[in-house]
Protein backbone atom coordinates (compact mmCIF):
# COMPACT_ATOMS: atom_id res chain seq x y z
CA UNK A 1 0.00 0.00 0.00
CA UNK A 2 1.32 3.42 -0.96
CA UNK A 3 1.84 5.86 1.84
CA UNK A 4 3.77 8.81 3.15
CA UNK A 5 5.46 8.18 6.43
CA UNK A 6 7.19 10.80 8.55
CA UNK A 7 9.24 9.55 11.48
CA UNK A 8 11.03 11.52 14.20
CA UNK A 9 11.50 14.48 11.88
CA UNK A 10 13.49 17.43 13.22
CA UNK A 11 14.54 20.48 11.29
CA UNK A 12 16.42 23.68 12.02
CA UNK A 13 17.49 26.69 10.01
CA UNK A 14 20.83 27.62 11.54
CA UNK A 15 20.32 27.77 15.28
CA UNK A 16 16.57 28.24 15.24
CA UNK A 17 14.65 25.04 15.67
CA UNK A 18 11.70 24.89 13.28
CA UNK A 19 10.30 21.38 13.69
CA UNK A 20 10.65 18.95 16.59
CA UNK A 21 9.87 15.26 16.54
CA UNK A 22 7.15 15.13 13.90
CA UNK A 23 5.50 11.74 13.33
CA UNK A 24 2.54 10.88 11.11
CA UNK A 25 1.44 8.57 8.35
CA UNK A 26 -0.69 9.40 5.35
CA UNK A 27 -2.29 6.35 3.76
CA UNK A 28 -3.59 6.04 0.24
CA UNK A 29 -6.92 7.77 -0.33
CA UNK A 30 -6.60 9.85 2.83
CA UNK A 31 -6.61 13.58 3.32
CA UNK A 32 -4.40 14.79 6.12
CA UNK A 33 -4.47 18.43 7.15
CA UNK A 34 -1.88 20.20 9.21
CA UNK A 35 -3.26 23.33 10.84
CA UNK A 36 -1.41 25.83 12.90
CA UNK A 37 -0.62 29.51 13.20
CA UNK A 38 1.31 31.30 10.46
CA UNK A 39 5.07 31.07 10.78
CA UNK A 40 4.80 27.81 12.69
CA UNK A 41 6.83 25.69 10.29
CA UNK A 42 3.92 24.26 8.30
CA UNK A 43 5.39 25.16 4.95
CA UNK A 44 8.80 23.83 5.98
CA UNK A 45 7.18 20.54 6.92
CA UNK A 46 5.40 20.36 3.60
CA UNK A 47 8.58 21.16 1.67
CA UNK A 48 10.41 18.41 3.56
CA UNK A 49 7.66 15.91 2.70
CA UNK A 50 7.67 17.00 -0.96
CA UNK A 51 11.44 16.71 -1.18
CA UNK A 52 11.87 20.42 -1.89
CA UNK A 53 14.09 20.63 1.18
CA UNK A 54 16.66 18.09 2.30
CA UNK A 55 15.76 16.10 5.40
CA UNK A 56 18.43 16.58 8.05
CA UNK A 57 17.18 14.48 10.92
CA UNK A 58 14.55 11.77 10.85
CA UNK A 59 12.85 10.00 7.99
CA UNK A 60 10.41 10.86 5.24
CA UNK A 61 9.35 7.77 3.31
CA UNK A 62 7.18 8.43 0.29
CA UNK A 63 5.99 5.38 -1.64
CA UNK A 64 3.48 7.26 -3.80
CA UNK A 65 4.49 7.10 -7.43
CA UNK A 66 3.29 10.47 -8.69
CA UNK A 67 3.18 13.60 -6.58
CA UNK A 68 2.22 17.16 -7.40
CA UNK A 69 2.39 20.44 -5.56
CA UNK A 70 0.01 23.40 -5.53
CA UNK A 71 1.50 26.50 -3.98
CA UNK A 72 -0.07 29.35 -2.07
CA UNK A 73 0.65 31.66 -5.01
CA UNK A 74 -0.03 30.34 -8.52
CA UNK A 75 3.65 30.50 -9.59
CA UNK A 76 2.96 30.41 -13.31
CA UNK A 77 5.74 30.91 -15.81
CA UNK A 78 5.05 34.45 -17.08
CA UNK A 79 6.36 33.74 -20.60
CA UNK A 80 4.06 30.79 -21.21
CA UNK A 81 0.40 30.92 -22.05
CA UNK A 82 -2.29 29.10 -20.06
CA UNK A 83 -2.12 25.83 -21.96
CA UNK A 84 1.67 25.64 -21.93
CA UNK A 85 1.72 26.42 -18.23
CA UNK A 86 -0.61 23.53 -17.53
CA UNK A 87 1.32 21.26 -19.87
CA UNK A 88 4.50 21.82 -17.86
CA UNK A 89 3.61 19.06 -15.42
CA UNK A 90 3.09 16.59 -18.25
CA UNK A 91 6.22 17.60 -20.10
CA UNK A 92 8.16 16.96 -16.91
CA UNK A 93 6.88 13.40 -17.05
CA UNK A 94 8.23 13.03 -20.60
CA UNK A 95 4.94 13.46 -22.45
CA UNK A 96 5.05 14.63 -26.11
CA UNK A 97 4.31 18.32 -26.46
CA UNK A 98 1.32 17.99 -28.76
CA UNK A 99 -0.37 15.37 -26.60
CA UNK A 100 0.44 17.33 -23.45
CA UNK A 101 -1.26 20.40 -24.91
CA UNK A 102 -4.36 18.40 -25.84
CA UNK A 103 -4.67 16.99 -22.33
CA UNK A 104 -4.05 20.41 -20.84
CA UNK A 105 -6.85 21.96 -22.87
CA UNK A 106 -9.18 19.22 -21.72
CA UNK A 107 -8.46 19.73 -18.04
CA UNK A 108 -8.49 23.52 -18.39
CA UNK A 109 -12.14 23.32 -19.46
CA UNK A 110 -13.06 21.28 -16.39
CA UNK A 111 -11.41 23.91 -14.22
CA UNK A 112 -13.70 26.62 -15.53
CA UNK A 113 -11.28 28.18 -18.01
CA UNK A 114 -12.66 29.20 -21.41
CA UNK A 115 -11.27 28.49 -24.86
CA UNK A 116 -10.50 32.20 -25.25
CA UNK A 117 -8.20 32.02 -22.24
CA UNK A 118 -5.98 29.28 -23.64
CA UNK A 119 -3.53 31.55 -25.42
CA UNK A 120 -3.47 34.26 -22.74
CA UNK A 121 -0.37 35.01 -20.74
CA UNK A 122 -0.57 35.06 -16.93
CA UNK A 123 -0.37 38.89 -16.89
CA UNK A 124 -3.82 38.97 -18.52
CA UNK A 125 -5.46 36.64 -15.98
CA UNK A 126 -7.16 37.53 -12.72
CA UNK A 127 -5.87 36.08 -9.45
CA UNK A 128 -8.61 33.45 -9.38
CA UNK A 129 -7.93 32.40 -12.96
CA UNK A 130 -4.25 32.02 -12.20
CA UNK A 131 -5.02 29.75 -9.28
CA UNK A 132 -7.31 27.68 -11.51
CA UNK A 133 -4.41 27.26 -13.92
CA UNK A 134 -2.11 26.34 -11.06
CA UNK A 135 -4.56 23.67 -9.87
CA UNK A 136 -5.00 22.31 -13.37
CA UNK A 137 -1.23 22.12 -13.76
CA UNK A 138 -0.95 20.10 -10.54
CA UNK A 139 -3.83 17.75 -11.33
CA UNK A 140 -3.24 17.18 -15.06
CA UNK A 141 -0.50 14.69 -14.20
CA UNK A 142 -3.07 12.58 -12.29
CA UNK A 143 -1.00 12.53 -9.11
CA UNK A 144 -1.51 9.94 -6.37
CA UNK A 145 -0.40 12.40 -3.74
CA UNK A 146 -1.10 16.11 -3.82
CA UNK A 147 0.67 18.63 -1.61
CA UNK A 148 -1.40 21.73 -0.96
CA UNK A 149 0.17 24.80 0.58
CA UNK A 150 -2.80 27.03 1.50
CA UNK A 151 -3.82 27.35 -2.14
CA UNK A 152 -7.31 28.62 -1.25
CA UNK A 153 -6.27 31.44 1.03
CA UNK A 154 -6.48 34.24 -1.54
CA UNK A 155 -9.63 33.08 -3.33
CA UNK A 156 -13.22 34.24 -3.03
CA UNK A 157 -15.64 31.80 -1.35
CA UNK A 158 -17.27 30.71 -4.60
CA UNK A 159 -14.07 29.73 -6.30
CA UNK A 160 -12.79 28.18 -3.09
CA UNK A 161 -15.80 25.91 -2.94
CA UNK A 162 -15.57 25.06 -6.64
CA UNK A 163 -11.95 23.95 -6.39
CA UNK A 164 -12.61 22.07 -3.15
CA UNK A 165 -15.48 20.21 -4.80
CA UNK A 166 -13.18 19.06 -7.59
CA UNK A 167 -10.84 17.68 -4.95
CA UNK A 168 -13.68 16.06 -2.99
CA UNK A 169 -14.81 14.23 -6.10
CA UNK A 170 -11.34 12.82 -6.59
CA UNK A 171 -11.10 11.82 -2.94
CA UNK A 172 -14.44 10.03 -3.23
CA UNK A 173 -13.09 7.91 -6.07
CA UNK A 174 -10.00 7.14 -3.99
CA UNK A 175 -7.86 8.57 -6.80
CA UNK A 176 -6.06 11.04 -4.67
CA UNK A 177 -4.34 11.42 -1.32
CA UNK A 178 -3.71 14.92 -0.04
CA UNK A 179 -1.35 16.50 2.44
CA UNK A 180 -2.92 19.84 3.14
CA UNK A 181 -1.43 22.80 4.97
CA UNK A 182 -3.73 25.53 6.17
CA UNK A 183 -4.46 27.99 8.95
CA UNK A 184 -8.18 27.84 8.17
CA UNK A 185 -9.92 25.31 10.41
CA UNK A 186 -13.11 25.22 8.31
CA UNK A 187 -11.20 24.31 5.16
CA UNK A 188 -9.38 21.57 7.04
CA UNK A 189 -12.63 20.14 8.45
CA UNK A 190 -14.36 20.21 5.09
CA UNK A 191 -11.66 18.25 3.32
CA UNK A 192 -9.79 16.04 5.76
CA UNK A 193 -10.00 12.63 7.31
CA UNK A 194 -7.55 13.72 9.92
CA UNK A 195 -6.42 17.11 11.19
CA UNK A 196 -3.08 17.52 12.96
CA UNK A 197 -2.46 20.56 15.09
CA UNK A 198 1.03 22.03 14.77
CA UNK A 199 2.09 24.45 17.48
CA UNK A 200 4.79 27.02 16.77
CA UNK A 201 8.27 27.63 18.27
CA UNK A 202 9.32 24.90 17.74
CA UNK A 203 6.82 23.18 15.47
CA UNK A 204 5.39 20.20 17.28
CA UNK A 205 2.26 18.18 16.70
CA UNK A 206 0.19 18.65 19.84
CA UNK A 207 -3.16 17.16 18.95
CA UNK A 208 -5.02 15.26 16.26
CA UNK A 209 -8.70 15.13 15.29
CA UNK A 210 -10.40 12.58 13.05
CA UNK A 211 -13.53 12.99 10.91
CA UNK A 212 -15.17 9.85 9.58
CA UNK A 213 -18.15 11.28 7.66
CA UNK A 214 -17.44 11.06 3.90
CA UNK A 215 -16.45 14.45 2.45
CA UNK A 216 -19.37 14.64 0.03
CA UNK A 217 -21.83 14.36 2.94
CA UNK A 218 -20.25 17.15 4.92
CA UNK A 219 -22.62 20.10 4.64
CA UNK A 220 -22.10 23.60 5.97
CA UNK A 221 -23.86 22.72 9.17
CA UNK A 222 -21.45 19.87 9.86
CA UNK A 223 -18.47 22.10 9.12
CA UNK A 224 -19.71 24.96 11.31
CA UNK A 225 -20.51 22.65 14.19
CA UNK A 226 -17.18 20.87 14.07
CA UNK A 227 -15.36 24.18 13.77
CA UNK A 228 -17.20 25.54 16.79
CA UNK A 229 -16.24 22.41 18.71
CA UNK A 230 -12.63 22.75 17.71
CA UNK A 231 -12.54 26.38 18.78
CA UNK A 232 -13.51 25.25 22.29
CA UNK A 233 -10.63 22.81 22.39
CA UNK A 234 -7.92 23.78 24.87
CA UNK A 235 -5.03 22.82 22.62
CA UNK A 236 -6.47 24.88 19.76
CA UNK A 237 -6.98 27.87 22.04
CA UNK A 238 -3.42 27.79 23.29
CA UNK A 239 -1.84 27.07 19.89
CA UNK A 240 -3.64 29.88 18.09
CA UNK A 241 -3.43 32.11 21.20
CA UNK A 242 -7.17 32.64 21.21
CA UNK A 243 -7.63 33.44 24.90
CA UNK A 244 -8.67 36.98 25.58
CA UNK A 245 -5.80 39.13 26.70
Amino acid sequence: MERLEVKNLNHSFGFSEILRDINFTLNKGEVLSIVGPSGGGKTTLLHLCANLLDVEEGLVINSFKKTAFAFQEPRLLPWKNVVDNIALGLIAKGEKKQLAREKSKEIALTFGLDKEDFEKFPKDLSGGMKQRVSFARALVTKPDLLFLDEPFSALDIGLKKELQNILIKKIENKELSILFITHDLMEAIRLSHKVLLLKADPGQIVNSFSYDLPQNQRNDEFVYKQTADLLQNKSIISTFELELK
Binding site: F69, E73, R75, W79, A92, K123
Partner: protein, 260 residues
Protein backbone atom coordinates in the same frame (compact mmCIF):
# COMPACT_ATOMS: atom_id res chain seq x y z
CA UNK B 1 8.53 28.12 -37.35
CA UNK B 2 5.18 29.07 -35.81
CA UNK B 3 6.93 32.06 -34.32
CA UNK B 4 8.21 33.26 -37.70
CA UNK B 5 4.75 32.94 -39.27
CA UNK B 6 3.21 34.96 -36.45
CA UNK B 7 5.97 37.53 -36.85
CA UNK B 8 5.23 37.93 -40.58
CA UNK B 9 1.49 38.01 -39.99
CA UNK B 10 1.71 40.86 -37.51
CA UNK B 11 4.26 42.77 -39.57
CA UNK B 12 1.89 44.77 -41.86
CA UNK B 13 -0.13 45.97 -38.87
CA UNK B 14 3.08 47.02 -37.19
CA UNK B 15 4.24 48.90 -40.29
CA UNK B 16 0.91 50.68 -40.51
CA UNK B 17 1.37 51.91 -36.96
CA UNK B 18 4.45 53.76 -38.24
CA UNK B 19 2.58 56.72 -39.78
CA UNK B 20 3.09 58.78 -36.65
CA UNK B 21 6.83 58.12 -36.75
CA UNK B 22 6.99 59.10 -40.42
CA UNK B 23 5.08 62.30 -39.72
CA UNK B 24 7.52 63.26 -36.99
CA UNK B 25 10.48 62.56 -39.29
CA UNK B 26 9.00 64.85 -41.92
CA UNK B 27 8.50 67.53 -39.32
CA UNK B 28 12.14 67.18 -38.39
CA UNK B 29 13.16 67.55 -42.05
CA UNK B 30 11.04 70.68 -42.29
CA UNK B 31 12.90 72.17 -39.32
CA UNK B 32 16.14 71.19 -40.98
CA UNK B 33 15.12 73.09 -44.11
CA UNK B 34 14.34 76.15 -42.01
CA UNK B 35 17.81 75.90 -40.53
CA UNK B 36 19.20 75.85 -44.05
CA UNK B 37 17.32 79.04 -44.94
CA UNK B 38 18.70 80.80 -41.87
CA UNK B 39 22.33 79.64 -41.91
CA UNK B 40 23.03 79.05 -45.60
CA UNK B 41 24.31 76.15 -47.67
CA UNK B 42 27.82 75.90 -46.27
CA UNK B 43 26.80 75.46 -42.65
CA UNK B 44 23.66 73.42 -43.18
CA UNK B 45 22.88 72.20 -46.70
CA UNK B 46 19.21 71.81 -47.49
CA UNK B 47 17.60 68.38 -47.13
CA UNK B 48 17.05 68.37 -50.88
CA UNK B 49 20.73 68.82 -51.63
CA UNK B 50 21.70 66.28 -49.01
CA UNK B 51 19.38 63.66 -50.42
CA UNK B 52 20.61 64.44 -53.93
CA UNK B 53 24.19 63.86 -52.79
CA UNK B 54 23.03 60.71 -51.03
CA UNK B 55 21.39 59.49 -54.23
CA UNK B 56 24.59 60.03 -56.19
CA UNK B 57 26.66 58.38 -53.48
CA UNK B 58 24.48 55.30 -53.42
CA UNK B 59 25.18 54.85 -57.10
CA UNK B 60 28.88 54.86 -56.45
CA UNK B 61 30.41 51.46 -55.83
CA UNK B 62 33.23 52.90 -53.76
CA UNK B 63 30.72 54.20 -51.22
CA UNK B 64 29.12 50.80 -50.91
CA UNK B 65 32.55 49.36 -50.27
CA UNK B 66 33.00 51.79 -47.39
CA UNK B 67 29.58 50.94 -46.01
CA UNK B 68 30.32 47.23 -46.21
CA UNK B 69 33.63 47.71 -44.44
CA UNK B 70 31.89 49.50 -41.59
CA UNK B 71 29.12 46.92 -41.35
CA UNK B 72 31.70 44.15 -41.35
CA UNK B 73 33.64 45.74 -38.50
CA UNK B 74 30.56 46.51 -36.44
CA UNK B 75 29.26 43.00 -37.01
CA UNK B 76 32.53 41.28 -36.04
CA UNK B 77 32.95 43.52 -33.00
CA UNK B 78 29.37 42.99 -31.90
CA UNK B 79 29.56 39.23 -32.42
CA UNK B 80 32.71 39.01 -30.32
CA UNK B 81 31.18 41.03 -27.49
CA UNK B 82 27.99 38.98 -27.77
CA UNK B 83 29.92 35.71 -27.45
CA UNK B 84 32.22 36.86 -24.65
CA UNK B 85 29.60 39.00 -22.90
CA UNK B 86 26.94 36.32 -22.62
CA UNK B 87 29.38 33.54 -21.72
CA UNK B 88 31.18 35.50 -19.03
CA UNK B 89 27.93 37.08 -17.84
CA UNK B 90 26.32 33.68 -17.35
CA UNK B 91 29.38 32.30 -15.59
CA UNK B 92 29.63 35.33 -13.33
CA UNK B 93 25.93 35.07 -12.59
CA UNK B 94 26.16 31.49 -11.41
CA UNK B 95 28.86 32.24 -8.86
CA UNK B 96 28.16 34.83 -6.19
CA UNK B 97 31.85 35.65 -5.72
CA UNK B 98 32.40 36.17 -9.42
CA UNK B 99 29.42 38.50 -9.69
CA UNK B 100 30.58 40.58 -6.71
CA UNK B 101 34.10 40.78 -8.12
CA UNK B 102 32.99 41.67 -11.63
CA UNK B 103 30.85 44.63 -10.51
CA UNK B 104 33.69 47.18 -10.10
CA UNK B 105 35.41 45.97 -13.26
CA UNK B 106 32.23 46.51 -15.22
CA UNK B 107 31.92 50.00 -13.71
CA UNK B 108 35.45 50.77 -14.90
CA UNK B 109 34.71 49.44 -18.38
CA UNK B 110 31.46 51.36 -18.66
CA UNK B 111 32.95 54.51 -17.18
CA UNK B 112 36.02 54.59 -19.41
CA UNK B 113 35.33 56.87 -22.39
CA UNK B 114 35.56 55.05 -25.73
CA UNK B 115 37.87 57.76 -27.00
CA UNK B 116 40.48 56.66 -24.44
CA UNK B 117 40.16 53.10 -25.71
CA UNK B 118 40.69 54.30 -29.27
CA UNK B 119 43.95 56.00 -28.28
CA UNK B 120 45.17 52.86 -26.52
CA UNK B 121 44.07 50.62 -29.38
CA UNK B 122 45.91 52.82 -31.88
CA UNK B 123 49.09 52.38 -29.86
CA UNK B 124 48.56 48.64 -29.53
CA UNK B 125 47.25 47.68 -32.96
CA UNK B 126 48.11 50.60 -35.27
CA UNK B 127 45.73 52.07 -37.85
CA UNK B 128 43.75 49.09 -39.05
CA UNK B 129 40.72 46.85 -38.60
CA UNK B 130 41.81 45.52 -35.22
CA UNK B 131 41.78 48.95 -33.63
CA UNK B 132 38.20 49.61 -34.71
CA UNK B 133 36.95 46.14 -33.82
CA UNK B 134 38.68 46.25 -30.45
CA UNK B 135 37.02 49.55 -29.61
CA UNK B 136 33.63 48.21 -30.59
CA UNK B 137 34.17 45.15 -28.40
CA UNK B 138 35.23 47.03 -25.28
CA UNK B 139 32.38 49.50 -25.66
CA UNK B 140 29.53 47.03 -26.16
CA UNK B 141 30.84 44.11 -24.12
CA UNK B 142 29.98 45.52 -20.65
CA UNK B 143 26.36 46.20 -21.65
CA UNK B 144 25.80 42.61 -22.76
CA UNK B 145 27.78 41.25 -19.84
CA UNK B 146 25.64 43.11 -17.30
CA UNK B 147 22.45 41.93 -19.02
CA UNK B 148 23.50 38.29 -18.86
CA UNK B 149 24.76 38.67 -15.30
CA UNK B 150 21.52 40.18 -14.06
CA UNK B 151 19.44 37.66 -15.93
CA UNK B 152 21.26 34.84 -14.21
CA UNK B 153 21.23 36.44 -10.78
CA UNK B 154 17.54 37.25 -10.74
CA UNK B 155 15.96 33.86 -11.43
CA UNK B 156 13.12 33.67 -8.96
CA UNK B 157 13.42 31.17 -6.15
CA UNK B 158 9.66 30.62 -6.18
CA UNK B 159 9.58 29.57 -9.80
CA UNK B 160 12.65 27.41 -9.33
CA UNK B 161 10.93 25.64 -6.46
CA UNK B 162 7.81 25.16 -8.57
CA UNK B 163 9.86 23.64 -11.37
CA UNK B 164 11.63 21.41 -8.83
CA UNK B 165 8.31 20.22 -7.46
CA UNK B 166 7.44 18.88 -10.92
CA UNK B 167 10.83 17.19 -11.11
CA UNK B 168 11.63 18.66 -14.50
CA UNK B 169 14.78 17.20 -16.04
CA UNK B 170 17.69 19.63 -16.27
CA UNK B 171 17.30 20.17 -20.01
CA UNK B 172 13.60 20.97 -19.61
CA UNK B 173 14.41 23.35 -16.75
CA UNK B 174 16.77 25.18 -19.08
CA UNK B 175 14.30 25.63 -21.92
CA UNK B 176 11.28 26.35 -19.72
CA UNK B 177 12.74 28.48 -16.97
CA UNK B 178 16.40 29.51 -17.27
CA UNK B 179 16.59 30.35 -20.96
CA UNK B 180 13.41 32.49 -21.21
CA UNK B 181 14.28 34.35 -18.04
CA UNK B 182 17.89 35.06 -18.99
CA UNK B 183 16.85 35.90 -22.54
CA UNK B 184 14.40 38.51 -21.24
CA UNK B 185 17.39 40.33 -19.79
CA UNK B 186 19.91 39.62 -22.53
CA UNK B 187 17.69 40.64 -25.44
CA UNK B 188 17.30 44.32 -24.46
CA UNK B 189 21.00 44.39 -23.63
CA UNK B 190 21.77 43.06 -27.10
CA UNK B 191 19.71 45.82 -28.68
CA UNK B 192 21.51 48.55 -26.80
CA UNK B 193 24.82 46.80 -27.44
CA UNK B 194 24.11 46.79 -31.15
CA UNK B 195 23.24 50.49 -31.14
CA UNK B 196 26.42 51.18 -29.21
CA UNK B 197 28.51 49.16 -31.69
CA UNK B 198 27.17 51.11 -34.60
CA UNK B 199 27.98 54.46 -33.03
CA UNK B 200 31.40 53.45 -31.80
CA UNK B 201 32.47 51.88 -35.09
CA UNK B 202 32.03 55.19 -36.92
CA UNK B 203 33.86 57.11 -34.25
CA UNK B 204 36.76 54.69 -34.22
CA UNK B 205 36.98 54.78 -38.00
CA UNK B 206 36.98 58.54 -38.01
CA UNK B 207 40.00 58.65 -35.73
CA UNK B 208 41.87 55.48 -36.43
CA UNK B 209 41.23 54.14 -39.90
CA UNK B 210 41.44 55.06 -43.54
CA UNK B 211 38.42 53.10 -44.68
CA UNK B 212 34.75 52.86 -43.77
CA UNK B 213 32.01 55.44 -43.27
CA UNK B 214 33.88 57.09 -40.40
CA UNK B 215 36.92 57.80 -42.48
CA UNK B 216 34.75 59.04 -45.36
CA UNK B 217 33.26 61.44 -42.82
CA UNK B 218 36.73 62.55 -41.83
CA UNK B 219 37.62 63.24 -45.48
CA UNK B 220 34.39 65.19 -46.00
CA UNK B 221 35.27 67.30 -42.97
CA UNK B 222 38.76 68.10 -44.25
CA UNK B 223 37.30 69.18 -47.60
CA UNK B 224 34.52 71.15 -45.92
CA UNK B 225 32.08 69.05 -47.97
CA UNK B 226 29.03 69.48 -45.74
CA UNK B 227 26.48 67.82 -48.07
CA UNK B 228 28.57 64.62 -48.18
CA UNK B 229 29.04 64.70 -44.40
CA UNK B 230 25.30 65.06 -43.90
CA UNK B 231 24.57 62.36 -46.46
CA UNK B 232 26.87 60.03 -44.51
CA UNK B 233 25.04 60.91 -41.31
CA UNK B 234 21.77 60.09 -43.06
CA UNK B 235 23.18 56.70 -44.09
CA UNK B 236 24.22 55.96 -40.52
CA UNK B 237 20.98 57.01 -38.97
CA UNK B 238 18.74 55.33 -41.51
CA UNK B 239 20.62 52.05 -41.24
CA UNK B 240 20.30 52.18 -37.48
CA UNK B 241 16.60 52.97 -37.76
CA UNK B 242 16.16 50.16 -40.24
CA UNK B 243 17.77 47.65 -37.90
CA UNK B 244 15.96 48.97 -34.86
CA UNK B 245 12.43 49.52 -36.18
CA UNK B 246 12.12 47.12 -39.08
CA UNK B 247 14.07 44.14 -37.76
CA UNK B 248 14.42 44.28 -33.98
CA UNK B 249 11.22 45.97 -32.80
CA UNK B 250 8.82 43.44 -34.41
CA UNK B 251 10.88 40.58 -32.95
CA UNK B 252 10.87 42.29 -29.58
CA UNK B 253 7.10 42.66 -29.68
CA UNK B 254 6.66 38.97 -30.29
CA UNK B 255 9.19 37.61 -27.82
CA UNK B 256 8.16 40.02 -25.09
CA UNK B 257 4.39 39.75 -25.56
CA UNK B 258 4.14 38.20 -22.11
CA UNK B 259 5.47 41.30 -20.36
CA UNK B 260 3.21 43.84 -18.69
Amino acid sequence: MKFIIKLLKDFPAYLFSGWGAIASIFLFIACWDMGNQVYGDLVLPSPKETFKTLYLMLHDEAVWLEINTTIYRAFIGFSISFAIGTTLGLLAGFFATASIMSRPIVTILVGMPPIAWIVLAMIWFGMNDETVIFTVVVASFPIIFVGALQGTRTIEGDLKQMVDSFELPFFQKCINLYFPHIFSYVFPALISGLGMSWKIVVMAELLASNSGIGSALSIARSQLDTPTALALVVIMISSLMFIEYIILEPIKREVEAWRD
